[in-house]
Amino acid sequence: MAVDIKTVERIATLSKLEFSETEKQEITVDMNRMLDFVAQLSTADTEGVKPLIYMLEEEAELRKDEVIGSITQQDALKNAPEKDSDFIKVPKVINKD
């Protein structure tokens, strides 16, 4: 499965990332290298083997529906690059055209 520049552009758009042309070229090379590495797995015979989703055999442990509490509003907003006293501020999401 070869990655071309179109795939890189598409993934970049979905991740809301921008790259220069040079970067795109480099990423294409890198991604192909990674996929080639992982492709070794496909040489294994997986006939009749169920897909492995979890590393553990156990089932999920359920949590009781109890409120243990939250962090303070100040802490909640601490890492936001832009904020006011109540909210995290981000660029306008909806364009009104």
Partner: protein
Amino acid sequence: MHMLAQEIYDKYELVVGLEIHAQLLTKSKAYSSDSSEFGAQPNTHVNPITLGHPGTLPKFNENTLQYGVRLGLAVGSDITYENQFARKNYFYADLPKGYQITQDKTPLCTGGKITIKVGKGTKDIGITRIHMEEDSGKSIHDLDPFHTLIDLNRAGVPLLEIVSEPDIRSAQEAYDYLTEVRQLVRYLEVCDGNMEEGSMRCDANVSMRLKGAPKFGERTETKNLNSIRNVFRAIEFEAKRQVEVLEAGGVIKMETMGFDAVTGETRTLRSKEMAHDYRYFPEPDLQAVFVGKNYVSDVKETLPALPKELKEKYTSALKLSDYDAEVLTEEKHFALFYEELIGLTKSYKTAANWMMGAVKSYLNENALEIKEFPLKPKHIAELIDLIESGAINNSIANQKVFPALVEHPELSAKTLAEKNNWIQESDTEALEGFINEAIAKFPAKVEEFRAGNKNLLGLFMGEVMKASKGKADPKVTSNLLREKLEQ
């Protein structure tokens, strides 16, 4: 808005499927233990899991599962044994992790149906699936002119997404289906069903096809409709819009639409060509949840009586009308009050009339819910007994005893009637006095009555009632009057 002749619209058939998001009434969030309560100060119900900080791990709320199974059982779904979670990836400011934890290939419930009324009959709307997921935070677009503001209190609140089959054929059917679902989630106490506050939201998938066409047309999805009425309006508008596009030789594209409640119009929010790539994959941070037969049967034990079962019981076993059954079961606790009442009296129809008459008017006038009603079913049962024993008549019961009882729920109907001298007069001697007075007052009317105008009995009854201050037993009085007048 009619751009085309009605017969053009009539060539097409509307096809609708609905997706409902129901916020669950759990105390804590789906995967973390901060509060999921609505209405707190912004960004105060968050913790590092909600914020998607590196190194945090989700832990699944057992009530999300229980509520999901409750709803699934109530609509007749199959409950999935092995439940996996999946990541649905998309980038949006109110989704801190960059993905939503949802279910993809193993929805908790599959199949089932909701039955709605269509004309005199009924119609089943199929349920495709119900799965568990988490809500996103809230984006506020209109408070700040240059920014979108983010409140993450809602992020991680558990949701059930209820997906219907494309079985709906009119805006009215969509309206009825939603009404049924809302009533059901309220009966089950899994969601408060409040669409205006956003605890129940609806997306409508709408397409049109020529009548008789074997395949569905391309559909659009109208998002985040916030009332049942707006779902109805959006579908009506979207149906017409699509016919107009098709008739003009255009094609319907798969698009996401928004609905403007002020203009009643839908408009394109975004095209789906690119955006619809959620790159689902199994959530590695949560193990699968196994829902065994014992768990399912335990949940089944706790299910309350459902509206359709109560309606069925009222119309067949109690012989009430469809209308009565409908009104009595509209709201769960109102129905439960009636349920308790009919355990105390066998006069089912009379009991229903009291519920739908005096009780309902009292609640409406005072803007109360039945839970806040001062009287208990036993009060109403005693009142009914008092009428049926002949001690008071209906109008005294309605106009005097009921209002007094509401003021003094600590007293019984009987005590109040006796104390206030409302026990009706069925003693023949006392009644004869009133009757003689009435007859003496209107000699000309007596002649008319004797000449054949039997309707005048009502006039004399009225006189006796007035003179006795409403306490005359109507049955005894009317018999006595007839006797006297016909002498």
